[in-house]
């Protein structure tokens, strides 16, 4: 039962999202029948699923929304704000109900009460205009078959063939051992089922439980021959009609492509829990580490046995495993790829709401949503993007009168665009708002003491704009008054960096601003060095370490509060990793110190560790959940022994 509910929750979210996408698209293109049909299907299916559970008023609200959509499908009522708004309200309300269901198993009292208002607004939206659409060309398909296809939400314009079945079991069929529903269930790929009494139910006292009084109709995606095979013994009680797709009329110019047909999708994709793919990826990552062990083994073999052939065989098997592991790794990486659409699709509604709250009208244009990236990147990109979108709506795009004065169209425009560039993706958010004046950033930076006046004067406009990402600007209220940009932009930069990317900003005063997030498509393997401090082990990215040395304690000089040593005529500050991590520092009198020489902020720094263990090639994952805010940690990785290792960000740790 819980499993069913879980499944429902997942599907319901998708359907809500689909309906929301369709409604917003309809708002822009009211004549887009495809979107109307798709919205109808989403609401209809959602209603069907909700009907399986006791979810208070959800069913009724969805039913009314479906009615309104049905009316729009069958008539020519105007699709305007009066039509769309109540439906959007339904979608939002259902979304909130789903939140409650996820938490408490059912919609809260408060939401249940709201349903009355929602219903009232839906009724008000029924401004009936009963002019029927152009006559549908006569068909040889019987009405009942059309009706069930319609009830199943199958648009016959869709590609693919379906089979409609109408089964009127003989009234005495139970006596001959028939179990009609069990027979019907043998039919593969049933998409929809309808059961109705053949004759009105008699009074209970006259009800004969051994007489079958049912008409069963079903729609299936199975082949017609398979369906006929199921009912071969009862041809007199069954009608089978193949529904071949209608020739689809040319889609309107600019109309959105038809959503992927659900059953075709079923054939080629399957839903897999993300954690299972993650587990595979981790194993693949560990395999990479494990196969590295074969190289020293080949050397050992040569030393121990002087048998060159044995060593060569190990080497060639290492190569073979390396190739396979590489292939496995890239296959699993691909399995984690999802289209950016999963994040992008959340924005249209959000932009609509936020803009409405700010009293602005803004069109959001989304492009490149089918570009793919690692699931984690696609998910994590939402927050920084949200930040940028809010910023653009709040501060970038001007109020309508201001726009008109400066000769711009009254509706603001926000473009969210993704594209792939080699192994990276670029996500661009462009507004046609007021832009940012570099001079005002300069003076704010001087005022904040971030820059001296002389330095500020030498900075190019482009460089000046990047100052907005520096933490000094992040909470500065002066900046938000000044240009509206700056608040939290350092957080956006940090989020991008955590994912292995960065943000850039370009702006032209009174024309608009473009933010570009550049991110890796997936997480790559990185080489780390494992070091230990006391009982703890940490990873350090090898690219951050210039060399490792042994340092005699005698050569350490105390310099004010700290320590330093001389390496090849260069005085280098010495830090202890234990102290940087706020662990207890171990006193090791007399022994040599193990020191990593790292590059931090253009300077060399020595970092004392207790021991340097192996080097490994592993998959570095960004921090998520509770660990996310942890400073000085670049990510986590899983070692060959299955232990999770924190990988340090030396530069941040030292800084």
């Amino acid at each position: 039962m819980d499993e069913l509910m879980d499944q429902f929750a997942i599907e319901a979210r998708e359907l809500v999202q689909q309906a929301s996408d369709d409604l917003l698209a309809l708002e822009r293109a009211p004549t887009d029948r495809g979107r109307l049909e798709s919205a109808f299907r989403a609401i209809h299916t959602l209603k069907g699923s909700v009907g399986l559970f006791d979810l208070g008023p959800m069913h009724e609200v969805l039913h009314q929304a479906e009615e309104l959509l049905t009316e729009a499908r069958n008539t020519t009522i105007d699709i305007d704000a009066g039509f769309i708004d109540p439906l959007i309200a339904v979608v939002e309300w259902v979304d909130q109900c789903l939140d409650d269901i996820a938490r408490e198993g059912k919609p809260s009292e408060n939401l249940a009460r709201q349903s009355k208002q929602i219903l009232a607004s839906l009724h008000a939206g029924e401004t009936a205009d009963d002019t029927p659409l152009a006559e549908i060309p006569p068909e040889t398909v019987p009405d009942w078959a059309e009706a069930i296809a319609k009830a199943a939400g199958i648009d016959r314009g869709m590609s693919g063939a379906f089979v409609a079945v109408r089964y009127e079991p003989h009234p005495e069929c139970f006596f001959s051992g028939d179990d009609p529903l069990a027979t019907l269930a043998k039919m593969p790929d049933i998409l929809h089922l309808q059961i109705a009494p053949k004759e009105p139910w008699p009074h209970r006292d006259n009800y004969d439980p051994f007489r079958c009084n049912l008409v069963i109709e079903a729609l299936t995606a199975a082949a017609i021959t398979d369906v006929e095979a199921v009912f071969r013994l009862i041809p007199d009680q069954i009608r089978i009609v193949g529904l071949t797709p209608l020739k689809q009329e040319k889609a309107e110019l600019g109309a959105a492509p038809e959503p992927v047909q659900p059953h075709a999708q079923k054939m080629t994709t399957m839903r897999v829990e993300a954690t299972r793919v993650d587990a595979l990826l981790e194993i693949a990552g560990e395999l990479v580490t494990a196969k590295n062990g074969l190289l020293p083994l080949a050397e050992d073999a040569l030393v121990a046995t002087s048998d060159e052939r044995l060593s060569r065989r190990i080497l060639s098997s290492h190569q073979e495993i390396e190739r396979l592991v590489g292939a496995l790794y890239s296959a699993v990486t691909r399995a984690r790829m999802v289209p950016l659409d999963q994040t992008f699709r959340r924005f249209p509604r959000l932009v609509r709401e936020t803009a409405a709250r700010l009293g602005k009208s803004v069109d959001l244009i989304v492009e490149g949503e089918d570009v793919e990236a690692d699931r984690e990147i696609v998910e994590e990109i939402f927050e920084p993007l949200l930040h940028l979108v809010r910023n653009a709506l709040d501060h970038g795009i001007e109020e309508e009168p201001d726009r008109t004065t400066s000769g711009k169209p009254p509706r603001g425009s926000l473009t969210l665009r993704a594209r792939q560039r080699g192994e990276r993706i670029e996500v661009e958010l462009r507004d046609d708002g007021r832009g940012i004046e570099p001079d005002r950033i300069r003076s704010a930076a001087i005022a904040k003491g971030i820059l001296s006046e002389t330095v500020a004067a030498t900075l190019s406009d482009a460089t000046t704009l990047q100052l907005l990402f520096s933490p000094g600007f992040s909470t500065a209220s002066t900046v938000s008054d000044l240009s509206g940009r700056g608040v939290g932009l350092d957080a956006v930069q940090m989020a991008a960096q955590r994912l292995g990317g960065h943000v850039e900003l370009a702006s032209t005063p009174s024309v608009g601003t473009v933010f570009t997030l550049s991110l890796p498509i997936s997480f790559s393997m990185s080489r780390i060095m494992v070091v230990s401090v006391g009982e703890e082990r940490y990873g350090v990215p090898i690219e951050g370490v210039i060399e490792t040395i042994r340092l005699s304690q005698q050569n350490v000089t105390a310099v004010r509060a700290g320590e330093a040593f001389v390496l090849r005529d260069l005085t280098i500050p010495l830090l202890h990793l234990a102290e940087l991590l706020q662990l207890k520092r171990r006193e090791t009198l007399g022994t040599d110190l193990r020191v990593l020489i790292a590059q931090a902020g253009g300077e060399r720094v020595g970092i004392v560790v207790d021991a340097i263990a192996e080097r490994a090639e592993t998959l570095l994952r960004p921090l998520s959940g509770l660990l996310r805010g942890l400073p000085g940690i670049a990510g986590t990785t899983v070692l060959g022994d299955g232990k999770v290792l924190l990988v340090l960000d030396l530069e941040e740790l030292i800084g």
């Binding site: 009907g51 028939d178 529903l181 069990a182 929809h192 139910w201 439980p209 079958c212």
Partner: protein, 82 residues
């Protein structure tokens, strides 16, 4: 007995064949307000489904092993109480 009364609920267990339909109707008549719990049912004969539909029973749970049961429930639900 695959259909029986348990603590105010009419409970279906295992394979519920056509021969159980009279038991069900008797129970439904005697306890018209009792919910019908299908969670533990494996298969349910059409005659039983028909009786449930006719009686507009308050159905709880879904037979876990039957693929078609959720669809039937939704189909008879449409004609019963919605």
């Amino acid at each position: 007995m695959t259909i029986r009364l348990e603590e105010e609920s009419i409970v279906f267990v295992g394979k519920c064949g056509v021969e159980e339909v009279e038991t069900l109707l008797t129970l439904l008549e005697a306890y018209p307000r009792s919910p019908v719990d299908l969670t533990q049912a494996e298969t349910i004969h059409t005659a039983i489904w028909q009786a449930l539909m006719m009686a507009k029973s308050d159905i709880r749970g879904i037979p876990s092993s039957s693929k078609i049961a959720p669809m039937i429930l939704s189909a008879i639900g449409k004609n019963a109480s919605f």
